[in-house]
C-alpha cells in the first residue's frame, strides 16, 4: 500500500515532466509520515494511512499549484523506530511530519521533529503531557479532554449511582480513567477503577469482582479493541447486573459490529458519525466517496481522524508555499492560523498546539446500526437504557 502510494506519486511526478509550461510551474512539496504499519498497532496505522492518502488526493485536486506528496515509513509500533523515521524523513527533505499512534511513540518522535524544526501533527496521541512540553512545532486535533467530556456527559445524564471503570494501564486509557473518576465523583457517583495490564486476556476475575463487590449500574471500559472483546465476552459469561456497557475509541464502529455481532449490541462508544454513515458536510461526502473509491469500504473513525489532520496540514502547506514562507519557517505560523469546520467540528490550535474545541459524541450499537445518543444536540436517536449485549 505504501509502495503503491509512493509509486503513484513518483508516476505523477514523472508524467508531470512532459506537461505544458503552464503546469510546469507546479510546486511539489514532500511531507513525511511515520505510521505503525506493522507491530501491535498495525491496524490503527494502516487505517490512518488510508485516511491520509485520501486527504492528500483531495487536497492536491483542490489546489493544483502546490502538490503535496508523502513519504511513509513504518515505525513498527516502537518509539525508537519512530524517532529514526522522523530523522530520516527530515533529512530527505520533508517539510513536516504526520505522526503515528500512541502517546508513548508520538512523544519522542515529536521531540525529534521539534529539534529538527519540522512541524509535527498527530491525531493518535491524547496524553496531556504532550502539549505541556512547550514545543513550537507540535499540533494535534484530538485530546483526552474531548474524549473525557463526551463520556462524562453521557454518564452524568444517565444518573447512575455507581460506575465501575476497567482501565488499561497504557497511558491514554489511564489518563481518561483518572479524569472520568474525578468528573463522576464530583457529581456524587460512586466510582471504582480496575486497572489491568494490556497483556491480560481473561477478564473474568475483574468482571466477577465488579459483579460481586462493586454492583455498579454501568461498566465503563477505558481500553482498546481487543480488550473490549475480552471484557464484554467475560461479562456475557458472568452476567453482572449492569444497565449499560460503555467504551471509548474504536468501539462504536461498523467494523466492530460486523466482526463481533454477538458482543456489540447496545454497547456505547465514542463516535462522531452514525451508521449507516450520514455525512452532513460537502467535504465529508467527498471524503466518503473518495474513500469508497480507493479502499472499497465505508469511512471509519481512525481514517476520519487522519483525513482531518492531513487536510489541515496540506492546506497550511499550500498557504505557506503560496505566501513564500514555507522555506522560512512559516508553516508553524500557518498551522496556528487554522480555524475551520471539519468532520470533527471546528478545529483551531492554541499556543500549545492543542485543539481546544475537540469533543466527541457517543454512539450506541443497535442491530448493526450506530445511533448517536449523546450529547442531545448531536443525537440521532434515544439511548436504549437499560440495555446490555446479553
Amino acid at each position: 500500500m505504501v509502495r503503491s502510494a509512493i509509486a503513484s506519486a513518483t508516476l505523477a511526478l514523472a508524467l508531470g515532466v512532459g506537461l505544458p509550461a503552464a503546469q510546469a510551474q507546479e510546486k511539489v512539496v514532500t511531507i513525511g509520515a511515520h505510521m505503525p504499519l506493522t507491530g501491535s498497532l498495525a491496524r490503527s496505522g494502516q487505517t490512518f494511512n488510508e485516511g491520509m492518502q485520501v486527504a492528500l488526493r483531495m487536497c492536491n485536486a483542490a489546489s493544483p499549484k502546490v502538490q503535496v506528496k508523502v513519504d511513509v515509513i513504518d515505525d513498527e509500533s516502537t518509539p525508537a523506530k519512530a524517532v529514526s523515521a522522523v530523522e530520516k524523513l527530515a533529512s530527505s527533505g520533508s517539510v513536516a511530519i504526520i505522526g503515528g499512534y500512541g502517546s508513548n511513540i508520538v512523544g519522542p518522535a515529536s521531540d525529534a521533529s521539534d529539534k529538527l524544526g519540522k512541524v509535527y501533527i498527530t491525531a493518535g496521541a491524547v496524553s496531556d503531557e504532550l502539549t505541556q512540553r512547550g514545543l513550537k512545532t507540535f499540533f494535534r486535533i484530538n485530546n483526552n479532554a474531548g474524549y473525557q467530556k463526551g463520556i462524562a456527559t453521557l454518564l452524568i445524564d444517565l444518573k447512575p449511582q455507581a460506575v465501575s471503570i476497567i482501565a488499561s494501564t497504557k497511558e491514554a486509557p489511564t489518563l481518561l480513567a483518572q479524569g472520568l473518576e474525578k468528573d463522576l465523583a464530583a457529581k456524587g457517583i460512586k466510582v471504582t477503577v480496575h486497572k489491568f495490564d494490556p497483556a491480560i486476556t481473561d477478564f473474568k476475575p475483574i468482571i466477577n469482582k465488579i459483579k460481586l463487590q462493586d454492583k455498579p449500574d454501568i461498566i465503563m471500559m477505558s481500553a482498546y479493541e481487543n480488550d473490549y472483546v475480552g471484557i464484554i465476552r467475560a461479562a456475557k459469561v458472568l452476567k453482572p447486573q449492569v444497565k449499560l456497557m460503555v467504551g471509548t475509541w474504536s468501539l462504536a464502529t461498523p467494523k466492530m459490529y460486523t466482526e463481533f455481532p454477538d458482543l456489540m449490541n447496545n454497547v456505547v462508544g465514542t463516535s462522531f458519525l452514525p451508521f449507516p454513515v450520514e455525512v452532513k458536510s460537502e467535504e465529508g461526502r467527498k471524503f466518503a466517496a473518495a474513500y469508497q473509491d480507493m479502499y472499497k469500504k465505508e469511512i471509519e473513525y481512525l481514517a476520519t481522524l487522519s483525513f482531518v489532520e492531513t487536510t489541515l496540514l496540506c492546506e497550511a502547506i499550500q498557504r505557506a508555499a503560496e505566501a513564500g514562507t514555507l522555506d522560512k519557517g512559516g508553516l508553524a505560523d500557518e498551522m496556528r492560523k487554522t480555524d475551520r469546520d471539519t468532520m470533527l467540528g471546528r478545529v483551531q490550535f492554541d499556543q500549545t498546539g492543542d485543539n481546544p474545541n475537540f469533543a466527541l459524541s457517543m454512539g450506541q450499537h443497535r442491530e448493526g446500526k450506530i445511533v448517536l445518543v449523546s450529547p442531545k444536540a448531536a443525537a440521532t436517536g434515544d439511548i436504549a437504557y437499560p440495555a446490555v449485549p446479553w
Binding site: 506493522t38 491496524r43 491480560i200 486476556t201 481473561d202 473474568k204 476475575p205 466477577n208 465476552r233 458472568l238
Partner: protein, 290 residues
C-alpha cells in the same frame, strides 16, 4: 469472598491449561534438542489463523480447522528444523537468534496475509456460558481444558512407552550415546519438531476459540511458554501442566485479591522466586532424581 476466590481458582486452572498447551511444544523441543524455539508462539498463532480461515470461509466450528492447522504448522515446523539443523557452531545460541528472526518473519507474513485486525471465534456454541455451581466459564474454555489434558496424557504416554518417545529421551539425555545405540538423532529431532508443531496446532486452535488473536501476540505467547518451561524444569511434561496452572492461578488470584494491573508482575515474581529457590525448576532433573 469465597465465591470470588473459587471463580479465580477456576479461571486460573482453565487459562493455565491453555498456557500448558502452548508451552508443551516449546518444552519438547527444548528438552529434546536444547533448542529454545523463539518462533514457537508464531507457530501457535499460525494455527489460530487457520482456525479463523476455516471458520470465516466455511462457517464450520473452529476445531474443524485442526487438519489444516496440522498440515500448515507441521510444514513450517519442518522448514524451521531444517534451518536450525544447518547450524554447525554454538547451536544453542545461534538457534536462539535464528528462531527469533524466523518469528519476526512469520509475524509479518501473517500480517500481510491476514491484515492486522484482531480475530476470535464468532461461534455461539463456544462462547456460551457454562456454570458449575457458583463458577462460570465459556464452553470453549472447558473444551480447551479437556483437550489440554488429553494431549498431555498422550504426550506423556508417547514419551514413556513408544520407541520414538524413548529415542527422544535418549537423544535428549546423551546424543552421542544414543547414536551408538543405533538411533539417528536428526530423524528423532525432526520427529520432535513435528510433534511440537502438532501441539502448537492444537494450542492455536484452542486459543482462537477462547481469546483474541492478532499478529503481534505470537511473541507474548513464546515468552509465556518459556516462563512455564523454566518453571516446570527441563524435560518434565507433568511439570509443564502444573507450572502452567500455577501461573494461571497466581495471575487470577492476583487480579482478585490485589489488582489486575499486577497480574503480569505476579507471574514474573513467581518465575524469579522459583529460579532463585529451585534453579532446576519445580520438576527439573535434580528434583526428579530426589
Amino acid at each position: 469472598m469465597t465465591e470470588l476466590i473459587l471463580q479465580a481458582l477456576f479461571s486460573g486452572v482453565l487459562i493455565g491449561s491453555v498456557y500448558a498447551l502452548v508451552a508443551l511444544g516449546l518444552a519438547l523441543a527444548f528438552g529434546a534438542m536444547r533448542i529454545i524455539n523463539l518462533a514457537h508462539g508464531e507457530l501457535v498463532l499460525l494455527a489460530a489463523y487457520m482456525a479463523y480461515l476455516v471458520e470465516s470461509r466455511t462457517g464450520l466450528e473452529p476445531y474443524a480447522a485442526i487438519p489444516l492447522a496440522l498440515a500448515v504448522v507441521s510444514a513450517v515446523s519442518i522448514a524451521l528444523f531444517m534451518l536450525v539443523n544447518m547450524i554447525r557452531d554454538h547451536r544453542e545460541l545461534n538457534s536462539l537468534i535464528l528462531t527469533f528472526a524466523i518469528g519476526i518473519i512469520l509475524t509479518n507474513a501473517i500480517l500481510l496475509a491476514f491484515a492486522s485486525d484482531m480475530r476470535t471465534t464468532t461461534s455461539a456454541f463456544l462462547q456460551d456460558a457454562v456454570s458449575f455451581g457458583d463458577v462460570y466459564a465459556m464452553r470453549g474454555e472447558i473444551i480447551a481444558f479437556a483437550l489440554s489434558l488429553v494431549l498431555m496424557g498422550l504426550l506423556w504416554w508417547w514419551l514413556k512407552a513408544s520407541w520414538y518417545g524413548r529415542a527422544v529421551r535418549a537423544v535428549s539425555s546423551n546424543r552421542g550415546a544414543a547414536m551408538l545405540m543405533g538411533i539417528n538423532p536428526t530423524r528423532i529431532e525432526t520427529v520432535s519438531f513435528l510433534v511440537a508443531g502438532a501441539l502448537a496446532s492444537f494450542a492455536g486452535v484452542a486459543l482462537y476459540t477462547m481469546s483474541v488473536v492478532q499478529p503481534a501476540v505470537g511473541h507474548a505467547l513464546t515468552v509465556k511458554a518459556f516462563i512455564i518451561t523454566v518453571l516446570a524444569g527441563v524435560g518434565s511434561i507433568p511439570g509443564v501442566f502444573l507450572g502452567a496452572v500455577l501461573l494461571g492461578v497466581t495471575e487470577a488470584l492476583t487480579v482478585t485479591l490485589a489488582s489486575s494491573a499486577l497480574q503480569e508482575l505476579a507471574g514474573m515474581v513467581l518465575f524469579l522466586m522459583v529460579l532463585f529457590l529451585m534453579p532446576n525448576g519445580l520438576f527439573g532433573a535434580r528434583a526428579r532424581r530426589g
